[in-house]
Symmetry: C2
């Protein structure tokens, strides 16, 4: 932890841009950066249903610059990246299902906008460091678990393909143009500040909301599929460490959890912790979801640990407990 | 060969669309399809410097439909794919260097237009079969040779990244939407009909032109880098077989050559066959080319052979000889 504290001291006085900074992970990251003494600019376009929410930054709103713009707009981005020391690049379209019904929008945001952001950096600020929020969705159905970074990338939806391209541009610009870039492949990140009004930010939001409302949680199939879960403060710590660790540049790194859990187990834990009387029910797979389901998957994050000392700190019980407490108090800002 | 003849008989009476059909490989493919009795529609936008050339179809112009349009135009494509039995999808931006100076255009053509073409098929003609022209450039610097289809994809330029996405969309639409799609990863394809006025269609065009003009050929480094070379009629045969072989759908398949050759050896062979007195010189790497060079690479095409019976038939000496004869007679249509 001393190592970590030393490392993160580098953020004092740094100019940091957070794309998607009004969103789930971006808002927690921005708050931590404020605490570390950074000069933080948030870029967010507040596209409905994408997760941006002014309420997420209610405690830091007077200590950050908030710039409303879309990362698909190359000119505003070109201006915004100037003079930044670090860019945390979290703006994205995250819904797997939406990427199948509107693939072009997913491409514009997760693929084309990433390329234009990197072009902006190349033109205006090649000294900056950038960390991209990628996804374990890029692996598709795992050939074996835990999945390491060398696992083939054979995604099962358009979102996964576009993230592969978005990540690859970052790593290429590192190698060819010297822009220090790292990609973090996130798994199921959860915690306060997630958009809860639909399932676009992952099944955990659906589970939590149903549990809080005392309604049954449906688990598709037998619920034995394993996943790993990262509490949001652990994800934030991974971003912070990666950006200031030279050995991370040019690499894609897995960010996992303490240990994998079954969907059924997590559903039951949500009901138990919420204590609102809801049950867990098994249901047959809806065909459109089964087509893009990937079975059990969890990642090996040993490389990130080796390079940065990062390890996940918050176990699933503690994390879900915190999330439930948060949504019980603030839920009205997240499900309407 | 009987097997092959049987297989290709399926093309008699088929409606076939060839995107990029006025280009190098597309024009040879279209001519072969006419010979096999297909009803061929060529789509080409004749973007300057991209390889489309009306002269390439001089012998078949009255037996094909030529439709001038850009695959980035989703509405004309939506109309054109209707009722086609097979789509050979060869339209693309092929210059690695251009993809680094104008990455957005490369993305629009090799990535975004592919997605909209597949969306058009999904909406208008999900029964069609489609074969995508991909590239061994997707592998990047090989970890070992020969490269199989399972080799990691870590490209060294934007073109390689966008082709990965373009290919992945095809395979995904096969798996999820049932559109029978195959991707062929081509190496250095060569022969008549290549644009020779610059090096955008690969170093072999530069070598051939210099040899015909009796000028020295510069080989970067020591010239020992190995490559494989596919004569264009062999590439055409791979496309034709892949489209009518059920076992190919949903797969990416390497298309290689008979055996690898060094760049120095090929340069010397070009000079020898052209007989115009030019020499081969070694030169230091230009920095912008060295950055995206990948060393020796050649592929294992055993999977394509297993599935379709395809093997390359034309050795490098025969192929270069034919190419030199062609350009000696018709070169004025290809280098101005």
């Amino acid at each position: 932890m001393t190592d970590s504290a030393d490392r993160l001291r580098a953020y004092a006085g740094m100019k940091v841009l957070v794309t998607g900074g009004l969103g789930f992970i971006g808002s927690h990251l921005s708050a931590k950066l404020v605490e570390l003494g950074s000069d933080v600019t948030i870029v967010d376009s507040l596209i409905p249903d994408y997760g941006g929410n002014a309420y997420n930054v209610r405690d830091i709103a007077d200590r950050v610059h908030i710039n409303y713009s879309d990362i698909r707009d190359p000119w505003s981005i070109r201006h915004l990246v100037r003079d930044q020391d670090v860019i945390f690049n979290l703006a994205g379209q995250v819904s797997h299902l939406d990427s199948m019904t509107d693939p072009r929008t997913d491409l514009e945001i997760n693929c084309a906008a990433q390329l234009s952001l990197l072009e902006a950096l190349r033109a205006e600020n090649p000294e900056a460091r950038i960390v991209f929020a990628a996804s374990r969705q890029q692996y598709g159905r795992p050939q074996d678990v835990p999945v390491t970074e060398n696992h083939p990338l054979i995604p099962v939806d358009v979102n996964g393909i576009n993230l592969i391209a978005g990540e690859a541009y970052h790593l290429l610009y590192n190698d060819v143009h010297g822009i220090r870039a790292t990609s973090l492949r996130l798994t199921n990140t959860y915690g306060p500040h997630q958009l809860m009004k639909h399932g676009r930010q992952g099944f955990i939001t659906v589970f939590l909301r149903l549990a809080l409302e005392g309604k049954p949680i449906k688990v598709f199939g037998d619920g034995s599929q394993l996943r790993d879960f990262t509490y949001v403060s652990d994800a934030v710590d991974a971003f912070l460490r990666a950006a200031v660790t030279d050995a991370c540049y040019g690499r894609a790194l897995n960010v996992g959890g303490i240990e994998p859990h079954s969907l059924l187990g997590v559903a039951e834990l949500c009901q138990e912790l919420a204590g609102a009387g809801g049950a867990v029910e098994r249901a047959p797979w809806p065909p459109e979801r089964e087509k893009i389901d990937i079975g059990s998957i969890y990642v090996d994050h040993g490389l990130l640990t080796d390079l940065t000392g990062w390890t996940p700190q918050v176990d699933i019980g503690t994390g879900l407990h915190r999330a439930i407490d948060f949504y019980r108090e603030h839920g009205n800002h997240y499900w309407t």
